[in-house]
Symmetry: C2
Subunit: 645 residues, 2 copies
């Protein structure tokens, strides 16, 4: 994307934001700008689904799918490059990203990671799309609470088969991408029953359609029909009526059933087994966050490029019309969102790097996987929340033009809207992050039910000690520096900023634990939890904010070009100041900030957006969405949208 | 809608929320629940447009259109009932509401209110849909800044015609409902030029299509195509190439051109003439706010009815699954939005009543019209902002089910999304409200350009004295009571609450004026304005909040049933507490609230949502969206969405 005439600051900043898999991103920018990968919003959902499937067949030729899988399964074994490569599809079209993610990420990931040698052939076939699959976890009755899924897979030793069955109306598999039309096989999550005993949720490969696309006996699929967005994804429902599958279709990496029905597992505790199973699927959650952030970058690129040319109202002194980007209100709308996008880009790169090290065997620390899961959950929340807010703001900032489909913002909005829900509802995931903080990763807690950990916190835990594993030296040094006299610290110093973020997290986690302990005796754990739920969620959010700031600081340190680094520093300041401004009430109420300091924060935001104004285009160009992939008529047809005399 | 078995609290509350035109609402509930008025999201936009037009023909049979027009024009002359009656269409389908509003509200309103006797026949024909029209104000280059429209209407005395022309690409009329397909005539806003002199923006009737639907000579219409929502509205573009229309097609209520080209107007100042013209069209803005609030009520009804039955995760003590509405986080998501919906319903009823009194000649006070315009602008902002936020929250609160079109929330979201933009962008309107406050309605200010008023504030105005016209005795009494010792006042007392809202507004307006004065000398008016823009917008918002609280209090005072009144009082408390919570940082930073009080506010919100929990269904039933109009599959098919064993 870089050309000889490009401002070197843009090139350097983009390099930093692109992160460790920059080459993958550059390659994708060149390959995916082709019209054939773009979404076509004029198609009805039937045609859109067919188009996306066709696009996926093109994608397989580019090697983007192969990276997701290990060499022994026919892939190239590059998990980091795999996630980044798929993420780039989001610039082209989010339906294409979702359907590719379902096939290679969710379905493929389940078969590769939960299966064993005997399932290897399926992986080979799904990479090339010879086998189209779907990931049938969610049921109409249970989405967030996956441990309570109702579908059963009962082992019959007489025939050495599992009988897959939907015992109630709410056991219906629902919202399953691929189930409405294209998938011929489903990775079905169901309660495994053998010898009359339930062994918890396991994953099974269940053929659902024949080669003509007809439902197989006992399988009834149906179509979820129209959705808010993602027209190219064929979400649907599956009901099983005593469907028999061979014993070997159990994905048996963590547990197996012998021909006689004997159940064995290397992990004895059923709940831990379940969480280990889910943990291997962490890549899905990482990918959703990345794609949401990519969608926000596209929207911000469109809104800023429009705002620097669109004029409205005249300066009474000069009589000249003023461009939108020169209005303070418009700057305050868009620049803090750009700053957050920068912050999240660094956080996502760091997250993918951690995942890559673990999944390629370079990080063997036992605690790393669990820390990764927590971080992935937290960043999924932050990035999808950001996308929902940023894209909405961009739509409104482009006025009536923003509402036309030809300007893409409404499609981005509609397509990303469900991201706050899928791969884990944001409220539930924030709670999960907070739970991990409150129990300081105590191993036994993982095995408790959804809310059982509250009792643990209330009765068992001593003072909560937050582990800060994996912190690089830079952050440690800054922290040590910030330890004394935060109240007096210079707000422009990173050490002070970091201390303000970390203190908020510490305080919230500590007091939440205290509240749970104090109340649980009186009211029982559920009441105690519920009364503190808001507090607990805030603690989770504060933790995520702190992680994001740390990776932002680390990311900047790696920028060599001094001009690019200086600009990134200003953007980081704006991220810090606008986050502090959003939480000003909390900081003052808890005496971490004086009223005077809070006022300084507000002034600081204004000064920073002023300072960044001349760099508006540089900042969005560095985000790295090629102009050729923006596909917004208001940019290509600027003369019409602006007074042209 | 009330039945013999209905809880009387619901009946009484609904009566209060229904307001002065409750009978119109009741009638509409019965008539519009018919399937034939519902939206059909499975239609493509061509078919959706045809369906809506057909629905409008049915609507004319119900007398809903007639109320919009004066008796001498063939209507029944009931402006209040007209706005309320149209608003009820929003429960059925927002495309139907918009297209009806364009025909009878905008186009019809322009012809009736800006035209004279010679245009009467057009009104008769547009009521019955014999004449389909559109309202061609916005251009691609200018939306918010209507005074700078580029389309020209140049008088040619030789033929006694106006020549309507689009001189630049950006002069193209755009986003015009009806322009893409159905309208045969446009009310075109254009710069009137006669004798070589420009006289500012006036409105002209321009035939654009023949009876076969073909563009007339010199007219080029085109289709805006797909939009974020509102598929049933045929938005389009119009370009004029020297189109000739008779002199009589000038809507000449406020200005006329004689056959020889002489220009006359009863209003000498061109800017004041323009604002008087716009002022007669206030009904459009009032209607948009009402429809947005109606959309939010539909969404909240769906989300709450789902939340009281949908279960997820078990209480560890009992093992029973917990309904969503019992979670604190869910209560905090939905109840404050319900409270705001209540507040806005009372505010809208009050607004419509004021409009009705003015437009039926019962309120002849010269200042009332201008106060009405300000209030309409403010409530349009508050209601459309609320709708955007509430519908988004409801979608997310219903999880994956919320994303399916069959559950309606995504349609509500997509359809209302542009409401923050049309009939005045919310940022621009908030600024307009603030401008009126800052200049204390000084008459000369209205005639200044968009930002010229800043110079007025900076150089002319003395201390700003806020006029509080039209305040009823109840509010005055409460205010007098609250005047002393606000800081010590009991937060549960209305007088204290009102004082907190009013003090915030007063302080913000006063300090904004001070800032403009202090800075304008140094930097010039634009810089002064721009530096304070955020402050100015906050002042506008604070004003709107205060008005909403006042009408809420007045509305409650009219509820006779003690149980219904008590419940409404609790809802009002929640509106107050959650508004204070949102602005807690401001209150503390400006010493209007101690840290302790701010903490009490936060606790208060929690206590109030707890207290309202048992009345969740009562509260949404009282909002008055009949179950038969909700049309969300997740409510009709509850057994599937909930664990049913």
């Amino acid at each position: 994307m870089s050309t000889t005439t490009e401002n070197p600051v843009i090139t350097h900043l983009r390099g930093a934001l692109d992160g460790p898999w920059g080459a993958v991103r550059e390659e994708a920018r060149a390959l995916l700008a082709d019209e054939k990968f773009a979404g076509d919003p004029t198609l009805d959902h039937k045609a859109a689904r067919a188009r996306v499937l066709e696009q996926m067949r093109e994608i397989t030729k580019l090697g983007i799918a192969d990276r997701n899988f290990r060499r022994e399964n026919g892939g190239t074994g590059e998990p980091g490059a795999a996630v980044v490569g798929l993420e780039m599809l989001a610039y082209a079209d989010l339906s294409l990203w979702v359907k590719s993610g379902v096939q290679w990420g969710l379905f493929g990931g389940a078969v590769e990671n939960l299966g064993t040698e005997r399932h290897r052939e399926y992986v080979r076939r799904l990479i090339t799309l010879d086998l189209l699959g779907c990931f049938a976890m969610t049921e109409t009755g249970h989405g967030s609470d996956v441990q309570s899924l109702e579908t059963t897979a009962t082992y019959d030793p007489a025939t050495q088969e599992f009988v897959v069955h939907s015992p109630t109306p709410s056991a219906r598999k629902d919202y399953i991408g691929g189930a409405a039309e294209h998938a011929s096989m489903a990775a079905v999550f169901a309660q495994l029953i053998t010898g009359g005993e339930s062994r918890g949720v396991h994953c099974f490969l269940v053929p659902i359609r024949d080669s003509d696309g007809n439902d197989l006996p006992g399988v009834t699929t149906s179509d979820d029909g129209l959705k808010g967005g993602l027209p190219g994804v064929d979400n649907g429902r599956i009901v099983f009526d005593q469907v028999r599958i061979p014993r070997e279709n159990l994905l048996n990496r963590y547990a197996d059933v012998a021909p006689d029905g004997a159940y064995t597992s290397e992990i004895e505790n059923p709940s831990r087994r379940f969480f280990t199973t889910l943990g291997t699927l962490v890549r899905g959650r990482i990918s959703v966050g990345g794609a949401a952030a990519a969608g926000a970058r596209v929207a911000l690129s469109i809104a800023v490029k429009y705002a620097v040319q669109r004029k409205q109202f005249s300066d009474p002194d000069t009589g000249e019309e003023v461009v939108l980007m020169d209005y303070r209100a418009h700057q305050r709308r868009l620049f803090p969102l750009i700053a957050k996008s920068y912050a999240l880009a660094f956080a996502q790169n760091d997250l993918v790097r951690r995942m890559h090290l673990i999944q390629t065997g370079q990080d063997l620390d036992a605690s790393s996987q669990r820390a990764l899961e927590k971080r992935a959950a937290g960043l999924k929340v932050a990035q999808t929340r950001h996308a929902t807010r940023a894209i909405q703001e961009c739509r409104e900032a482009c006025g009536g033009a923003g509402y036309l489909t030809e300007n893409r913002l409404v499609t981005l909005k509609a397509d990303t809207d469900v991201f706050t829900t899928f791969e884990g509802d944001n409220v539930v995931l924030t709670q999960l992050v907070a739970k991990e903080l409150l129990t300081a990763y105590a191993d036994e807690v993982r095995d408790l039910d959804a809310l059982g950990w509250v009792r643990f916190v209330a009765t068992t835990a001593g003072d909560v000690v937050r582990k800060r594993s994996g912190v690089r030296q830079l952050i440690q040094t800054l922290r040590d520096r910030g330890d004394d006299a935060v109240d007096e610290g210079d707000l422009s110093r990173r050490s002070t900023q970091l201390a303000l973020f970390a203190d908020r997290e510490d305080y919230l986690v500590r007091t939440a634990a205290h509240r749970l302990r104090a109340r649980a005796q009186e009211t029982g754990p559920f009441e105690a939890f519920n009364n503190a739920q808001d507090h607990i969620l805030t603690a989770g959010t504060a933790h995520i904010d702190r992680l994001i700031l740390e990776t932002f600081i680390e990311g900047i340190a790696d920028i060599e070009d001094p001009d690019a680094r200086t600009l990134a520093e200003t953007v980081c300041d704006l991220f810090v100041f606008s986050t502090l401004e959003e939480n000003a009430d909390w900081y003052i109420m808890h005496r971490f900030m004086s009223v005077e300091r809070a006022k300084a924060v507000r002034r600081g935001v204004n000064e920073l957006v002023d300072r960044l104004r001349p760099d508006a285009l540089t900042l969005v160009d560095a985000m790295g969405v090629p102009d050729s992939m923006l596909r917004a008529a208001l940019l290509s047809d600027a003369s019409v949208y602006d007074r042209s005399r």
